[in-house]
């Protein structure tokens, strides 16, 4: 376990209560690891602490408890080996699109000369389809274009770990689809490790190798790590036709709608140091129907929470 690329162990976030009052534990006993080159999405309801986990990985926030290690070194404070794409883009409004990307590139490679920085930045702006608007200020760009600049800025610094905090949350569905495709394209080039928050189940299936499912806060946990075995490269139009797509999708939606609130912390904590249980909805749904009478070899949680995938169509 200690050889994983990123390792988070027993992280917790607690807020002290007012005088005499009880404090608030947003989440605790959260442990997980990310492998190099893996694309992981994390899904959970608002208030479960996803953003805190992400900000802690970015070095912008701190856990109340727990340890974070990346490539054998403890994560302490922000660093250029971790790139962040914020939900609200966080572009510097007094700089043009190009200058915003250059800002990151120049910080990353201080020895580069101006032309080298510009060329590298332009290459990434072109990759997200922003050729020709590089001299515009963020205010003169649409929301989708701004997020593209933000993505270009993050990818251009070639971080080893990319943290995306609901990057498409503020975009309309059409724009979101287009930029998702661009994200897939740009990611398949360098294969960075990506950790992404999303609320969109379809988006998570399209992008992720694994999806972490968080139970509801307070005292949230990462309960499961769902493996997405759909073949890559994936395209939005194609994956919906894959026979596994709806099995996975229904599993995720069922978790969010029903189980995220039902799963009780005590059940999870009985396992001690709790890593999310790996789940493959496809094989699981197969065994469930095939071997209903066979002696169950499932983990303790499966015994606690009876789960049946529903063949209902959401959305």
């Amino acid at each position: 376990m200690s050889h994983a690329f990123v390792e988070v162990q027993q992280a917790a976030k607690r807020f002290p209560g007012a005088k005499g009052g009880e404090g608030l534990t947003v989440f605790e006993n959260v442990s997980f690891s990310l492998e190099k080159g893996e694309f992981v999405c994390i899904i959970g309801h608002s208030g479960c602490g996803k953003s805190t986990i992400m900000n802690a990985l970015a070095g912008l926030d701190q856990f109340s408890d727990g340890a974070m290690v990346m490539e054998g070194r403890e994560i302490k404070g922000p660093g250029l080996e971790r790139g962040v794409v914020f939900q609200n883009y966080s572009l510097l409004p007094w700089l043009t699109a190009l200058e915003n990307v250059r800002f990151g590139v120049r910080a990353r490679w201080k020895a580069w000369d101006e032309t080298q920085v510009t060329e590298h930045s332009l290459e990434y702006l072109e990759m997200v389809g922003l050729k020709g608007v590089e001299d515009r200020k963020p205010a003169q760009l649409s929301g989708g274009m701004r997020q593209r600049v933000s993505i270009a800025r993050a990818f251009a610094t070639r971080p080893e770990l990319l943290l995306l905090d609901e990057p498409f949350g503020a975009l309309d569905a059409l724009t979101r689809g287009v930029i998702q495709d661009e994200l897939v394209k740009i990611w398949s080039r360098d294969r960075q490790t990506v950790f992404m928050i999303t609320h969109d189940v379809d988006e998570a299936i399209l992008l992720a190798d694994r999806i972490f499912l968080m139970t509801n806060g307070p005292q949230a946990r990462i309960a499961e790590a769902v493996e997405i075995d759909l073949p890559r490269p994936r395209a939005r139009a194609e994956i919906v036709k894959h026979p596994h797509f709806y099995i996975i999708r229904n599993y995720l939606v069922d978790f969010l709608v029903n189980r995220s609130g039902e799963l009780r912390t005590v059940d999870l904590d009985r396992l001690g140091l709790h890593y999310p249980r790996p789940v493959n909805p496809v094989t699981e749904s197969a065994t469930e129907s095939d071997s209903a009478d066979a002696p169950s070899s499932a983990s303790p949680i499966q015994k606690l929470v009876k789960f049946t995938p529903k063949e209902t169509h959401h959305g």
């Binding site: 912008l60 404070g77 250029l80 962040v84 914020f86 966080s90 990353r108």
Partner: protein
């Protein structure tokens, strides 16, 4: 099409200019007319002995009419830099002295106010520690410092500059602190995730982010400085546009007084326009 282009043949700017010109003409005409009208109604009335002595002139001194002021303006502006002794210098020289004092005191204030404002904006400790001083010193009329300045500095010129310094420092200080403290955390986070040094963060992120607010403070300051210099120069005397106004009053030359009043307004406007242009350079849209 919008309303202005369909209903009106001329642009809004043109119409506004026209209206302003009409108002100006009306005001000047009224002023001129009132000034020229005979004080005594009827015309047929007997002149008093005094009036006869004065050759039928007005009993009371009058505000000079605009035509006189225009003539004076032409005289003064056609030779602004003559120097015929301590009490008779061209208007350009007087304005030059005033501008020199204002700009020296103003930039000295900026040099101190902006870094300290930065510190106060960045550090809650510095804010809490320095705030009582600022709150006490800020409401003091800059002219109240004058006796102390004259005593300590023992130089009229430097004291006037000090008064400008002390009156321009507060808006710049407070606006800088306000602007720096209000920089969006997102932008600071961008600097942090890019491992920018504190100096680079200050110059590449916080300064440009706070620049519009700082410039607003600088604009308020230059306005106040220009207001105060007139009063300060009336006190210290010798040179400057404030001294000129007072000197012409002592000469009972109201034409020159009115002319210099207008000139003070014009120069103040130009100073504000200059800072407005700088403010536009650093402005950004979120």
């Amino acid at each position: 099409m919008d309303r202005t282009t369909t209903e009106w043949k001329f642009s809004l700017n043109f119409r506004a200019g026209l209206l302003a010109a009409v108002i100006l003409a009306l005001l000047l005409g009224l002023w001129e007319g009132l000034d020229r009208a005979p004080v005594l109604g009827g015309g047929g009335a007997e002149l008093s002995e005094y009036e006869l002595l004065m050759g039928g002139a007005d009993e009371t001194a009058r505000v000079p009419p605009p035509s006189d002021i225009m003539v004076r303006a032409w005289e003064q502006l056609s030779d602004p830099f003559y120097d015929a002794g301590p009490n008779d210098k061209g208007i350009g020289i007087q304005l030059g002295y005033s501008l020199f004092r204002v700009l020296t005191g103003y930039f000295a204030a900026a040099l101190i106010a902006i870094p300290i404002g930065f510190l106060i904006g960045m550090s809650p400790l510095a804010y809490k520690a320095l705030n009582p001083f600022i709150q006490v010193l800020r409401p003091i009329s800059p002219l109240a410092w004058m006796p102390l300045a004259l005593f300590i500095i023992r130089d009229a010129q430097a004291s006037a500059i000090f008064v400008i310094f002390i009156c321009s420092i507060w808006p710049m200080l407070l606006n800088t602190a306000f602007g720096v403290a209000g920089v969006r955390q997102d932008w600071v986070n961008v600097a942090r995730t890019h491992e920018l040094s504190p100096m680079k963060t200050a110059f590449q992120v916080i300064l440009p982010a706070a620049a519009p607010t700082i410039l607003t403070g600088m604009r308020i300051s230059i306005g106040i400085a220009w207001l105060v210099i007139v009063a300060a120069e009336m006190l210290v005397g010798g040179t400057g546009i404030g001294y000129y106004v007072w000197n012409e009053w002592n000469n009972l030359d109201l034409t020159s007084v009115i002319f210099s009043i207008l000139l003070i307004g014009v120069v103040g406007m130009l100073l504000d326009l200059a800072l407005g242009a700088v403010a536009r350079l650093v402005a950004y849209q979120e």
